[in-house]
């Protein structure tokens, strides 16, 4: 395959064409240099490999719990904070945080399906580590894993 258009320098207006070309190329190079500088800054400020990221740290909380859950099936979920707040902005922020923690719990505990419900036999409680976990009615604590993480089971 070869270029179909043969080189046809703009000889009729050569110097202007050359200036235009140089300006256009300079623009592209300038844009690239600005990005390269940003890439170097980004690479230089990357955390060390030994520093765990936020999600890996959050996932570690669920490691022991994962071993005690059934390998398949549906498990209930109770989370914090309450997706409400005194103002719409706080309510939105709480909802988002509540949802994010639920998603991360699901990500950590896959392939078990987590449902925000107390219908299933087992329910995972993912509470504020500072707060006393409250047991839902009709359930008993199977194990308190600490750090706000509790596994409940429906009482016989």
């Amino acid at each position: 395959m070869t270029a179909s258009t043969p080189p046809t320098p703009d000889n009729g207006n050569g110097s202007w064409a050359a200036i235009r070309t140089r300006l256009a190329l300079a623009l592209v190079l300038l844009y690239a240099v600005a990005s390269v500088a940003a890439w170097i800054r980004l690479a230089a400020t990357a955390p060390a490999r030994s520093v765990p990221d936020e999600i890996s740290t959050y996932e570690l909380r669920f490691q022991a719990l994962r071993g005690t859950l059934p390998t398949q099936g549906v498990v209930g979920y109770l989370g914090h904070p309450d997706p409400t707040g005194p103002t719409p902005a706080e309510s939105n922020a709480n909802s988002l945080l509540h949802f994010k923690r639920y998603l991360l719990a699901q990500y950590a505990l896959a392939p078990v399906l987590l449902l925000e419900s107390t219908e299933p036999e087992f329910v995972v409680g993912n509470f504020d580590p500072e707060a006393m976990p409250s047991t839902p009615a009709g359930f008993r604590i199977v194990r308190d894993f600490g750090d706000g993480l509790v596994l409940f089971r429906r009482s016989p």
């Binding site: 395959m1 080189p7 320098p9 190079l29 390269v36 699901q106």
Partner: protein
């Protein structure tokens, strides 16, 4: 583990390149290794994804897959080699050296520097968030985990009980992540990272190689430089979403159509390959479902320039390449995927209310203009304005613009933008939030193809009267 991961990529790429070389026409288009490798790797990863899907339907995500896949692709490669010995070889590219001046080497050096810096930034960004961004652990990698960990119960990954995780999304990215873990022998964060890196830098390689083959090397380097310098492209590559992968297959489709535009008189194989690449896009994200009719519409519109018989032949060849992937995608949608959440929540009254609300049209249009105008902003300026200035300075190469494929692709890309506009207006529940969170990603999907189209159409520096070519000694 590292060996297994590397092998997962090598097996796909080698098989893809081997099969593409086998399918490459024996006359007309010369075989070039850079383009053949980049394009072949695209088909190779797509083939691997489909093979794993079919394997899972039969046996589940079992550890036997890597051996079976390597064996199957090995047999195919041997068959290709045997046939290659008896069949005529593709024409090698004519060897001719372009005369290059110092500015060319400055451009090549900057492109190499940008590649190294972007690679370092990519790794740095991955180290910062090895699980990717929100959608990666809510959707793509969650699904991969559910399949890999699920064993015999892998179909739970597509449960309608977690509709927020988009279980109807096609399987390209998730299956490639699962495949990397099967090759590695265990779940590792390096798997999704490798898949993301392959698609991100594979897109750059394909863009550069295709332009180098169809225009010239400096044009390829310029386009590659702009793509590598587009901040959102590199950063979003590390988000581990499906937008960069689908952009890769959009680009592969457009490149195959450009090859068809150049050599379609002698062979229909490139149009068939374009159909296959479009099918792989459809297997990557639901946006591919819009891309296929947009491309078909582009081909039909091209009939007004090339004549209907030519358009019909191209459309039939495109459909032949697309058909196998249509079957695969239909099997997924019918057997595994629950209903799309966007469609499932649609109500006729609400939709009529939305499409008759002029404020939604205005808001969507305003955001389109704003996002297009600022796309690729790296602090110095947006890539859109940069390319507009570049286009005005260099002018268009009439021979390329007059080609049918250029118009076909321009129509398809415009239809994609229009299609997304309609989806936003008619289907988005929280329109401002959705525009804010997804419009840049949709533009990014089209970005490599748009760059390819632009740098195919615009005159090369050498054509304008360039400092890139060494002045002839008098």
């Amino acid at each position: 583990m590292t060996v297994g991961l590397c092998l997962s990529l090598l097996v796909s790429a080698a098989a893809g390149v081997g099969l593409l070389r086998l399918a490459w026409p024996r006359t007309g288009a010369a075989w070039r290794w850079p383009l053949g490798t980049a394009l072949g790797a695209a088909f190779g990863v797509g083939l691997s994804s489909v093979l794993l899907y079919l394997w899972m339907l039969a046996f589940g995500p079992t550890q036997g897959f890597p051996l079976a896949e390597s064996g199957l692709l090995g047999v195919l490669m041997i068959a290709a080699l045997v046939r290659g010995r008896t069949a005529p070889q593709p024409q090698p590219a004519p060897s001719h050296r372009e005369r290059r001046g110092r500015p060319f080497y400055l451009l090549a050096g900057t492109a190499a520097l940008a590649l190294v810096a972007a690679g370092a930034a990519f790794l740095g960004s991955l180290r910062r968030q090895p699980h990717g961004e929100w959608d990666a652990w809510m959707n793509w990698d969650l699904r991969a985990r559910m399949i890999f960990r699920g064993g015999e119960g892998w179909r739970t990954a597509f449960s309608g009980m977690i509709p927020w995780s988009h279980p109807d999304y096609p399987l390209m990215v998730q299956s490639l992540v699962v495949r990397s873990w099967l090759y590695a022998g265990r779940e590792t964060l390096c798997g999704p990272a490798l898949v993301a890196a392959a698609f991100t830098f594979g897109t750059v390689a394909l863009l550069v190689a295709a332009l180098a083959a169809l225009r010239n090397t400096s044009q390829g380097l310029l386009a590659g430089l702009v793509l590598l310098s587009t901040p959102f492209f590199i950063i979003h590559g590390t988000s581990l979403y499906g937008d960069v992968p689908i952009g890769f297959f959009f680009l592969a489709t457009v490149v195959c159509l450009a090859l068809d535009g150049r050599y379609g008189g002698a062979t229909r194989r490139f149009a068939v390959l374009a159909g296959a690449a479009a099918g792989l896009a459809m297997w990557t994200k639901n946006e591919g479902l819009m891309f296929v009719p947009a491309m078909c519409a582009g081909i039909l519109v091209s009939g007004t320039f090339s004549g209907w018989p030519a358009a019909r032949r191209r459309l039939v060849a495109f459909g032949m390449g697309l058909f196998p992937m249509l079957l695969v995608a239909a099997s997924f949608k019918l057997r595994l995927a629950p209903r799309n959440d966007l469609l499932a929540t649609l109500g006729i009254e609400r939709t009529i209310g939305w499409i008759t609300d002029p404020r939604r049209y205005f808001l969507t249009l305003r955001e389109y203009v704003a996002h297009l105008a600022t796309f690729g902003n790296n602090g110095l300026g947006s890539a859109t304005w940069l390319l507009l200035a570049y286009f005005l300075a260099m002018g268009i190469g009439r021979r390329e613009v007059d080609r049918v494929w250029t118009r076909m692709t321009a129509v398809a890309l415009a239809l994609m933008l229009a299609g997304h506009y309609v989806v936003f207006v008619a289907m988005a529940y929280d329109l401002p939030r959705l525009l804010n969170s997804s419009l840049d990603r949709l533009l990014l999907q089209l970005w490599p193809s748009a760059l390819f189209l632009l740098f195919m159409a615009v005159r090369t520096p050498e054509e304008v009267g360039s400092p890139l070519r060494q002045a002839s000694p008098s």
